[in-house]
């Protein structure tokens, strides 16, 4: 009841979180004070990296549980799933907030993030995603708000919100359908760049299907994590049912994907011993086949460990899929290999850490788990002793597992990058054959047109105007333009400017060659330039 002023106890995992935050803050400084070039391994050839691939694409997909479960409960009226709606919505809300936060790092000019809301381009997928994410985040905030209002016992507001809940949920499902699929549509515009194992006209459909699957899997994962962290009972029959739904979705994914590869005649690419082929197979086996097989066995589906493991595999598989689309599949055509920089990795880790910390805090202070909070004390102090388990401090387990998961994903990315470095070779200019060069040059010279003469402005003490003749200086058979025009044509301008300002300046310029040894001297034969030019 009474807040103590002592600092929260520093557990190992809290220390780890603090470390992540510190590293992340330093990276944030680098990103914003030294620019994207200094902070990331991005380049003109590889403009989208880990921040888009993981923080945005995976982030949005990982938050898909919100719309999946709220559709199941509010629209399909499967009331028994109600206890998991709130954690799902909380995860989704935090997920979207973090995606927007991560976007601030990736955008070159983050303070203009609002531009798409004002400057419209309805032809842009990014425009559509921007609007959907903005609207859906608002919807999620409203869906999430009853939890806050309940906490502060604001009954009237709750009643009003209650009325709008159905339209809100419908809107949320529609918006999610649109932007979950549109994240795949991003890549539709580059059939020549994305590797054919991943490029398909069905990208938006696949992104939507995998988001649904991931929504279910994340619900399972997050129920397990919070059950362990908050000492609640796991609703096993409920989660087993979600496991069944996941299985069905996995099968649909598998069939759709295989069928698509078959009909585009690129299925053999998956079995080629290439970088892409291997990672594609890994994605399919780890994320689709393995969990589908596991979930098909009733004993596994009904066991805690089995269900949790299958769900983790699904999550991993879809994270791999998003990274394969955004990174693996893009490397070959870009001609470079990409592995995220430490700065990129530490920002991503910081965001994942913040996510888990926020979830833990919200779950603790807000009535997210309905049974658990029925009799909850109104104001628990932060290091609340009742939650402490005598032997193992389990409270930060959520963050621990989150960090572990994030690390695993990042290791995967780095491994991808390292593998790539071996496989990829940067395009080198072919060694030109001298004879062919000559042949081509001769051919090109047929159309060489000698530039016209250039009249220089005359300075007051000049005996006669000077006209420079290209014809007299340039061998039309081998016009080595660059030997004089090293600086382009500013040469002419500065020369003429100098003549007007400082008489005799041209003598210096022309005198570089006209020194009496290479060619006649500018000091000796005045009329050769000043008179002859006039005569010509």
């Amino acid at each position: 009841m009474n807040r103590s002023l002592t600092l929260p106890r520093l557990t190992f995992w809290r220390a780890a979180l603090l470390l992540l935050l510190a590293a992340g803050l330093y990276s944030t400084f680098v990103r914003f004070f030294h620019g994207l070039g200094a902070a990331t391994n991005l380049s003109d050839r590889f403009p989208w990296g880990l921040w888009v691939g993981f923080d945005i694409l995976c982030g949005v997909a990982l938050a898909a549980g919100g719309f999946t479960i709220s559709a199941i409960v509010y629209i399909f009226h499967l009331e028994r799933f109600r206890p998991i709606v709130r954690p799902a919505i909380l995860t989704a809300f935090l997920g979207y907030m973090l995606v927007i936060f991560a976007l601030m790092f990736d955008l070159g000019l983050p303070y203009r993030v609002w531009h798409p809301l004002v400057m419209w381009n309805p032809h842009s997928v990014m425009f559509e995603v921007g609007w959907c994410v903005t609207l859906y985040s608002t919807v999620l905030a409203l869906e999430f708000s009853p939890i806050v209002f309940e906490r502060f016992k604001m009954e009237k507001v709750l009643k009003v919100l209650h009325i709008f809940m159905l339209p809100l949920v419908v809107l949320g499902v529609l918006l999610s359908t649109l932007h979950q699929s549109s994240l795949g549509s991003f890549y539709l515009i580059i059939p020549s760049k994305l590797y054919p194992l991943w490029y398909t006209p069905w990208l938006p459909v696949f992104f939507f299907l995998t988001a649904l699957t991931l929504g279910c899997a994340m619900t399972i994962v997050e129920s397990f994590l919070s059950a362990r962290a908050f000492k609640k009972e796991i609703e096993m029959p409920l989660l087993t049912d979600i496991g069944k739904v996941t299985l069905v979705l996995l099968c649909v994914n598998f069939v759709a994907k295989t069928q698509d590869l078959w009909s585009r005649k690129v299925l053999p690419l998956a079995f080629e011993r290439t970088y892409e082929g291997r990672l594609f197979l890994a994605e399919m086996l780890i994320g689709l086949v393995a969990p589908a097989v596991l979930l098909a066995i009733p004993a596994v589906r009904k066991s805690r460990r089995g269900l949790f493991a299958s769900a983790i595999l699904v999550v991993l598989g879809i994270v791999m899929n998003r990274l394969n689309v955004s990174i693996t599949g893009m490397e070959r055509s870009s001609g470079v290999s990409y592995a995220p920089s430490l700065t990129e990795v530490s920002v991503t880790l910081m965001i994942v850490g913040i996510g888990f910390a926020l979830f833990t805090l919200a779950a603790k202070y807000l009535p997210v788990f309905e049974h658990a909070t029925k009799e909850a004390e109104p104001e628990p102090a932060w290091p609340e002793p009742a939650w402490q388990e005598p032997k193992r401090a389990r409270r930060p387990l959520v963050s621990v597992l989150g960090i572990a998961g994030g690390l695993a994903a990042l290791l995967f990315v780095s491994a991808m990058g390292l593998t790539a470095q071996g496989v990829r070779s940067k395009p080198l200019p072919a060694t030109p054959e001298a004879t062919a060069v000559q042949a081509q040059k001769t051919m090109a010279l047929a159309s060489f047109r000698m530039p016209s003469d250039v009249a220089f402005p005359q300075s007051p003490d000049s005996p006669a105007p000077v006209v420079f003749s290209h014809a007299a200086h340039v061998d039309s058979g081998a016009p080595d333009c660059i030997s004089c025009h090293r600086d382009g044509f500013s040469f002419v301008r500065t020369a003429s400017a100098r003549t007007a300002a400082a008489p005799g300046a041209l003598h210096k310029l022309c005198g570089q060659c006209h020194d009496g040894t290479s060619a006649f001297s500018v000091e000796a034969d005045c009329e050769k330039c000043h008179a002859e030019a006039a005569a010509k």
């Binding site: 620019g35 629209i75 000019l109 032809h123 997928v125 159905l166 040059k441 159309s447």
Partner: protein
């Protein structure tokens, strides 16, 4: 308003190029860009170089923005910072750009470049000297080319000229105009004595604007929203009905569990 037939373009003829680099230098001057290398021929496109001439075996090939008729960058940009102007150039409005770099990803020719080294970066690329073109002048690169390897004119004229040059010397030219069909047509056209692949141009590009690939999906949104909301509403109604029926059948014995949920139903 300039009609479609008056759209400007640039014809590049590698058989005429002697690799003098005047085009690149003129481009640098016009755009006030710093020198990026000692040797013009070893330059690459960057935020400080919008046009290059590179050696490809025995010939020289220019790289610059192709100024697509239906540009992917303009379609991809969420804020409409890229526009295909009526006169032909594809131009960029730095005041709109928020730096998402989708244009760079979307461009089939990898043309837009980013100021990675700046804290407030822009996208940079050739704008076909839009201001000069608006005044009726040729682009800087075309105006300095000593051999006519870079020629400025209306796209129609240039297409006709390209065809004429190929027809006049079919032994010399490879019979293909790069940019006539690629990604739905580009304002920059390339002819050569060899296949475009040998010059480093991609020939596997679709012959329709890639922007259509995303637009075909985006244009379905109203359908998804309309059908989706009716469908979801319908499911809501049907499942609620069946729940009520079930409850009525069980009447008398009420289900004790009522989660005092924060959401709305019945």
């Amino acid at each position: 308003m300039i009609s479609a037939t008056q759209k400007k373009g640039i014809l590049l003829d590698t058989t005429r190029c002697i690799g003098c680099g005047a085009c690149s230098l003129a481009c640098k001057e016009r755009n006030r860009l710093p020198r990026t290398s000692q040797d013009v021929l070893s330059d690459t496109l960057s935020d400080k170089t919008f046009s290059v001439v590179n050696r490809k075996g025995p010939r020289y090939v220019r790289r610059m923005c192709m100024h697509c008729d239906v540009p992917s960058c303009a379609s991809a940009c969420p804020v409409g910072a890229f526009q295909k102007t009526a006169a032909g150039p594809v131009v960029y409005d730095r005041d709109k750009c928020m730096g998402c770099r989708y244009c760079m990803l979307a461009c089939p020719f990898n043309v837009p470049k980013y100021e990675w080294g700046k804290t407030l970066p822009r996208v940079r690329k050739c704008d076909m000297c839009a201001d000069r073109v608006a005044q009726g002048l040729a682009t800087a690169c075309a105006s300095v080319c000593p051999t006519g390897a870079t020629k400025f004119g209306t796209r129609e004229e240039l297409l006709a000229e390209a065809r004429a040059r190929i027809a006049a010397d079919p032994k010399k030219y490879y019979n293909y105009i790069y940019g006539a069909q690629e990604v739905g047509g580009t304002s920059v056209l390339v002819i050569s004595d060899v296949r475009p692949e040998e010059l480093g141009f991609r020939t596997d590009l679709v012959h329709e604007p890639p922007a259509m690939l995303t637009w075909r999906v985006l244009s379905k949104i109203p359908n998804v929203v309309a059908v989706g909301s009716v469908l979801l509403g319908g499911i809501y109604w049907v499942t609620r009905r069946s729940e009520e029926v079930a409850r009525a059948e069980k009447s008398g014995r009420e289900g004790p569990e009522d989660g005092s949920g924060g959401g709305g139903s019945h």
